[in-house]
Each structure stands twice: as structure tokens, then as C-alpha cells.
């Protein structure tokens, strides 16, 4: 069983569209994250949720809206997509606290044309 799974793996869409990426973890973790990896491979946190509560919102445009229906799911909805949103988006999960490791999904490659 995949520990952290994201869908879709690839997403190609036009500017201005709205799209969602889904993430599910079966590890029983309390905390989930969204990271963005840009074209230069740089990884940066976007959001984190702990038990469905937003903990981190790292200066992300409000076109990006995470939603956590339960602690095993963290979805990312993006409105009015722009060319600059093209990136690989990774979902991750961990237990709560700094001395824990994060488990990552396979990533969603978003291409905005």
C-alpha cells in the first residue's frame, strides 16, 4: 500500500482554469503538508495542517486553497491558474513534532499552458 498518494500524477491545463490535487495518507499521521518544487528543483513549503487545522500558510497567493476534510486527506485547490504555477507539487505527512520524518508522495507535475 502506498503510504502517501497523490492524484493526478500529471496535470496539464490552460491558464485561467481551476484545478485540484488530492492527497491521502494511510500512516495515521497527524500532520500533512504541501511543498512546491520549482523548475530549479528548489523545494519550499506552502501549507501544513495538523489534525485538520491550518498551521502554516507560507505567503502563498490566495488562489491556492488547501482543504483537509479529515486528518488523512489534504487537497490543494488552485484557482485562476497562471503560467508561473507550473511546478511539481508534493504532499507529505508526518507525526507531530520536530523530531519526526516526513513521508512524501510521488508528486504532481502541473503544467499550465
Amino acid at each position: 500500500d502506498t503510504a502517501v498518494s497523490q492524484t493526478p500524477k500529471y496535470l496539464v491545463t490552460q491558464m485561467g482554469n481551476d484545478k485540484s490535487i488530492k492527497c491521502e495518507q494511510n500512516l495515521g499521521h497527524d500532520t500533512m503538508y504541501w511543498y512546491k518544487q520549482d523548475s530549479k528543483k528548489f523545494l519550499k513549503i506552502m501549507f501544513s495542517y495538523n489534525n485538520k487545522e491550518l498551521i502554516i500558510n507560507e505567503t502563498v497567493p490566495n488562489r491556492f486553497s488547501p482543504k483537509s476534510p479529515d486528518k488523512a486527506h489534504l487537497n490543494l485547490h488552485i484557482n485562476s491558474l497562471e503560467l508561473g504555477d507550473s511546478a511539481v507539487y508534493f504532499c507529505a505527512s508526518s507525526l507531530q513534532g520536530p523530531d519526526t520524518e516526513a513521508f512524501f508522495g510521488q508528486g504532481t507535475r502541473l503544467t499550465v499552458v
Partner: protein
Amino acid sequence: AQSVTQPDIHITVSEGASLELRCNYSYGATPYLFWYVQSPGQGLQLLLKYFSGDTLVQGIKGFEAEFKRSQSSFNLRKPSVHWSDAAEYFCAVGAGGSSYKLIFGSGTRLLVRP
């Protein structure tokens, strides 16, 4: 502010040769340090982590890393590289307490010559 620096963008080694990937961090408190590997088109896999205790930590796939507080470094090593080790390697520091997050370095791409 917390940060992680990986000074080498690319490293090329011959198969069977030893490897060292450099990582320097800036963090005020006791750091929680990680090395992740990303194979092409894949997610990130944890190689090893340091939280406390022995400063030489062993990881998967024959990797090890040494934490040196005096140098603010956490370099990754492998005595003999295999072609399958070709990938992108990321060093990260766990930071933020209750607002916990990983702060990543910019990555080092490892190329392996046959």
C-alpha cells in the same frame, strides 16, 4: 533565519568511487537534520536523519552522514557509489516548533560515470 546550503549543484563520480555531498545549515537551536534522495520522476525518499546522540548516522543504501556542530555541517558520504545512486540529493533541517516544517537546500545532482 534558518537556512540550508548545498554548495555543489552537480557532482560527477565514477562508479565504485567514494562520494561526499556537502551540507551546511544555519539554525539557532538543536537542529533536526535529514538527507532525502529524489530519483527522476519520483518523490523524496528519506536516506537518514539526525536528531541527537551519535554524530555519525547510518542510513539506507549504504549512506552515512556526520553531524559537526562546530562546522554547522551534515555531509553525506558513501564509500562506493553504484550507478543506481544517480539522483538528486536534498539536505533539510526541521524547524519551527509547533509550526514545524522542513527547510530544504537547493539540492545536489549526482551523476555516476560507468
